[in-house]
């Protein structure tokens, strides 16, 4: 069991990711409370897959996720704004390439 940050009553928040169909990505759908990862998986199944929403579930303890700080958004994301040349739209694709 990962060393997770728990509330005083022993429960912790887990983020839930569901894969809707084979071949698709797991998508974040919400969160559940649980005392351990195994319970979180069962809760995710009971809360988020009641209507056949998924074929696979991931749970991650919320405290194990390191999130970017919104206050640093300028420093993190602004510098990319004027670098449109990073989009692959400046290349002529040869006619011979069919499946790109």
């Amino acid at each position: 069991m990962p060393d997770t940050e728990k509330r005083s009553d022993g429960w912790a928040l887990y983020e839930v990711f569901i894969r809707a169909r084979s071949g698709l990505d797991h998508k974040h759908v919400g969160s559940v409370h649980a005392t351990d990862a195994r319970m979180a998986l069962e809760h995710a199944r009971d809360v988020y897959t009641r209507r056949q929403e998924g074929v696979s579930i991931w749970v991650v303890c919320s405290s194990d996720i390191l999130a970017s700080d919104p206050a640093e958004a300028d420093a993190l994301f602004e510098p990319a704004r004027d670098k449109v040349y990073r989009h692959p739209t400046f290349y002529d694709i040869p006619d011979e390439v069919k499946t790109l």
Binding site: W11, V32, H33, A34, T35, D36, R38, M39, E42, H43, R45, D46, V47, R50
Partner: protein, 264 residues
């Protein structure tokens, strides 16, 4: 009409009775436990558990519907699943007494669920290859649900049994209180033996052994003590019930009995 026809008709008319009772036992076990679990809705210790218990209740209700519909056909009196669920009297219910026991605290609910799930899992595994193809199909479908229920209740048995001093004490108390009701789950009476002989029900000895071993394994991990066997016997499956079932049925049945034929 051939000379043998009346005899055949008579034997086939007499034949469903034990089978009907056997199917009702299975149906009522699921139905009554579903009703009990439904009482938790809005009261469970966490929103997630609320949904978890409700999901299990709905699975059991689904099993009961299929089994009661089959029972209605076996009976041949034109009664459907609703009529059997809502218009039978207390002594006509054939569920084991375990499932009608009150929810108590969460420990009682979990122990009752675990004892039931372990039994249903092993019994339905056998029923899935019943000579009665209808029953076999229902069991195979239910088994997928039961596997999850057993994982869920085993997880809580271990978590709370091997949890705090308080949770351990509550779990042991619940186990001691409910254990005597397990006798009738794994013992056979005349109807069971007749169904086993017909290949409808699986032989009980291997199921009782598997059930017992499964219980021991989880109790060991949960650091709980298996209570001593008691000689007293309860026979809910023969229609003898504790005082709790009447109240449960009053709540479950009063609407359809007051408004006959009411629908959503």
């Amino acid at each position: 009409m051939s000379a043998t026809a009346p005899a055949t008709a008579a034997s086939s008319a007499a034949e469903p009775a034990p089978r009907l009772r056997y199917v009702l036992r299975l149906a009522d076990a699921s139905l009554i436990l579903a009703q009990r679990l439904g009482e938790w809705i809005g009261h469970a210790p966490a929103l997630e558990e609320d949904l978890g218990l409700a999901n299990t209740a709905l699975d059991l209700m689904g099993q009961a519907r299929l089994l009661l519909a089959y029972a209605g056909e076996l009976e041949g009196q034109g009664r459907d699943a609703d009529a059997l669920a809502f218009l039978r009297e207390e002594h006509e219910f054939l569920n084991p007494m375990l499932v009608e026991q009150p929810n108590g605290d969460f420990a009682h609910t979990i122990v009752r669920q675990f004892l039931f799930d372990a039994w249903q899992h092993d019994l339905y595994t056998g029923l899935a290859s019943s000579s009665d193809t209808r029953l076999a199909a229902i069991a195979a479908k239910a088994l997928k649900e039961t596997r999850y229920h057993l994982t869920y209740s085993s997880g809580w048995m271990i978590r709370l049994g091997d949890g705090t001093e308080e949770s351990h004490a509550r779990m042991q108390r619940a186990l001691d209180a409910l254990w005597p009701y397990t006798n009738e789950l794994v013992e056979t009476d005349g109807i069971d033996r007749e169904m086993i002989a017909a290949g409808v029900a699986p032989p009980m000895a291997p199921i009782a052994a598997a059930w017992s071993a499964r219980i021991d394994a989880v109790l060991r991990e949960a650091t709980l003590k298996r209570p001593h066997a008691v000689s007293f016997r309860w026979y809910g499956k023969q229609g003898h019930h504790s005082e709790h079932l009447g109240y449960l049925l009053a709540e479950m049945q009063h609407l359809p009995r007051t408004y006959r034929g009411a629908s959503w």
